[in-house]
């Protein structure tokens, strides 16, 4: 059974290509004087209404995330967004994909996620992410430290959830001599942990070794299949039999009453696409951000690229590749069935709005997904 999650990047949709063009990069250099808090207030309200509707119409979950210095994602804190989701919804699972744990104090992360699990009544799925390199740069931390900090933060968070306090943690990056978080999660031994990626096999292997479900964030289908194969190979080497419950896939998807209307609205999925990751390689993949091991694995599997980043495809090509799916309920059901048959994901994460898509169009899409598309997928 495939579970279907709603996801919104929560873009600041007022930004245009013309705004972005003069700057060396679309993130670190693009000045925040383009941000109007009053407009953001309206957008946040809309996005929260979409969450509430997704819960009402039958989505299994809502996924959220976090980025920094990014006009296309107004969420510098996934935990704040998850707190909102917990209060505007009643049923859905809340998948945070996730906390950039290398850059924050892990004890506070463990406390906040435990608090969210208590508030939501045990609905939290706690994703841990390395973040894009810009997240690390924005935090003022050397990209060479991200991986080691991530590993230590992960171990300390899990220990906070599973080992009664107080205890001592003498790590290199996060030393604490007295750890005793009062709030611990409802879910035992702790909330499920997910791990996302776009194209790095090292991420897949890291997740598979820990039995953590791997969520592919919208890579092309052939690459995604290869990454899934790596997960399954690694899982079997580790001695367990993986299944759909270990694998999810993020798809840009919009449903309208007619194919024509969906085609029109869905074109916004390409909003400012040329600017999001634009910038020097020193921002997107600075020396030391990837491990030597990651480079070695990539060299040994020459067919594996870097996901969709860096490869520009047209709207039509992306639809042909099932990377963007737009249409009437019937069209979308058929295309999502193709993805189910191809990847057999346990989780379909619907990346459901973008840029300045009208709130009414997105609400209608949520409604049609919930009332028409999801029931059809569940019948399969």
């Amino acid at each position: 059974m495939t579970e279907v999650f709603w996801f919104s990047e929560q873009p600041y949709g007022h930004v245009t290509d013309e705004d972005l063009a003069p700057y060396e990069s679309g993130r670190m250099h693009f000045p925040n004087t383009h941000f109007d808090p009053e407009k953001a207030h309206v957008l946040y309200s809309n996005y929260h209404d979409q969450y509430a509707l997704a819960d009402e119409v039958g989505f299994d979950g809502i996924m959220s995330n976090e980025h920094h210095s990014s006009y296309w994602c107004m969420k510098p804190s996934v935990n704040v967004d998850a707190a909102v989701i917990a209060k505007v919804t009643k049923q859905v699972k809340i998948a945070m994909l996730g906390n950039v744990i290398a850059l924050n104090d892990p004890v506070k992360m463990a406390e906040e996620i435990a608090m969210l699990d208590c508030i939501s009544g045990g609905r939290i799925i706690s994703g841990f992410v390395r973040g894009t390199a810009v997240e690390t740069l924005h935090a003022g931390i050397s990209p060479t430290e991200n991986r080691d900090r991530f590993e230590e933060a992960h171990d300390l968070i899990v220990k906070c959830w599973t080992t009664p306090g107080p205890f001592r943690w003498e790590g290199r990056y996060f030393p604490h001599r007295m750890v005793n978080p009062w709030v611990v999660p409802i879910q035992k031994p702790h909330p499920a942990v997910w791990f996302p990626g776009t194209g790095s096999p090292e991420s897949v292997i890291w997740a598979a070794k820990r039995m953590y479900p791997y969520m592919n964030l919208g890579s092309l289908l052939d690459l995604t299949k290869q990454l899934k194969d790596i997960y399954f190979e690694t899982a079997r080497e580790e001695g367990y039999e993986p299944g759909p419950e270990h694998f999810g896939y993020l798809i840009r998807c919009l449903v309208a009453d007619t194919d024509e209307r969906a085609q029109e609205v869905g074109r916004t999925f390409l909003w400012t696409e040329g600017h999001r990751q634009r910038g020097p390689v020193e921002f997107n993949d600075p020396p030391g951000y990837q491990s030597r091991e990651a480079l070695r694995i990539k060299m040994s599997r020459p067919t594996i690229g870097t996901g969709t980043i860096g490869r520009r495809m047209s709207y039509e090509e992306l639809q042909d590749a099932h990377n963007i799916i737009v249409g009437s309920p019937e069209t979308v059901i058929n295309k999502l069935r193709y993805i189910k048959q191809t990847l057999d994901p346990g989780y379909m994460l619907i990346y459901g709005n973008e840029g300045n898509m009208a709130h009414e169009d997105v609400m209608r899409s949520v409604e049609l997904l919930g009332t028409r598309v999801i029931p059809a997928l569940k019948e399969d």
Partner: protein, 264 residues
């Protein structure tokens, strides 16, 4: 890489780590420490200094042909590694010269242990945060920006075209690896140690500070602050010159260095 016939490339073991070393010349010892960009090997100014000194140009841990020991995370770690290198080489009353990040390392080494130092030469050295200006961003910028920052006027650099050509695949890997190590060592605090000016108050070693007046990476203000911090230091500022005086104004650079060394 420039290699005159008087220099040799070798590998020496320091505490179990294989250190890549260029050395040549004869006379009293002079140890040269390279900057964050890595070890460019035996250069014409090394060759000139080798007329009067035995010149040692090691690749610092994690740079070029020297592996990074697991324990080396900071500039302080590099300094301790280098003290072991000095002992391994058996250097007595040596001249310590460092450029840019290497100048920072040299200043910290002098503060740690100056009894064996004959003289200290810091060239466009990192290590002190300027009060008025800023040390330029060298990591979160494009390669083109980084290249533009280095020289005041590349047309006056002998063989300047070698700094503008496209790197070979192998050179790119080395440059990537050097930048990774420099990021590890210099990220935060950025290219300085807030305590260094206080350490330097005790360093009475004869010291020459050489700066390009138009240094666009480490402003000449830092040279002035080094001079204030060090009780026995002289600052030579070279006009129409950027961050690498030894490359951009080799004649004036060597005149300043030789004049200083003749007096110590």
């Amino acid at each position: 890489m420039t290699m005159a016939h008087s220099a040799q490339r070798s590998t020496i073991a320091v505490g179990g780590v294989a250190v890549e070393m260029f050395s040549g010349g004869s006379g009293p010892p002079l140890l040269f420490l390279h900057g964050a960009g890595g070890n460019a090997g035996w250069q014409p100014y090394h060759e000139e200094l080798a007329q009067s000194y035995t010149v040692y140009v090691p690749s610092q841990p994690g740079f070029n042909g020297t592996e990074r020991p697991d324990w080396v995370y900071t500039i302080t770690d590099v300094c301790h590694f280098n003290q072991a290198l000095v002992e391994t080489l058996g250097l007595e009353q040596y001249v310590l010269m460092g450029s840019s990040m290497g100048g920072w390392v040299a200043a910290e080494m002098a503060a740690m242990c100056r009894c064996n130092l004959k003289a200290l030469i810091l060239v466009g050295a990192a290590g002190i945060k300027p009060d008025k200006g800023e040390i330029a961003e060298i990591f979160m910028v494009s390669a083109q920006t980084r290249s533009n920052q280095r020289f005041y006027d590349i047309s006056q650099v002998p063989n300047g075209e070698q700094y503008q050509r496209e790197l070979t695949a192998e050179e790119q890997l080395v440059a990537h690896s050097n930048q990774e190590m420099a990021s590890r060592l210099c990220w935060r605090p950025y290219l300085h140690n807030p305590s260094l000016p206080y350490y330097l108050g005790r360093v009475n070693t004869p010291t020459l500070l050489v700066w390009g007046r138009q240094d666009a990476i480490i402003p000449v203000e830092c040279g002035e602050m080094f001079q204030q911090a060090l009780p026995n230091a002289r600052l030579e500022v070279i006009d129409h010159c950027g961050h690498s005086p030894a490359l951009e104004k080799p004649g004036e650079f060597l005149a300043a260095v030789n004049g200083f060394l003749a007096g110590v």
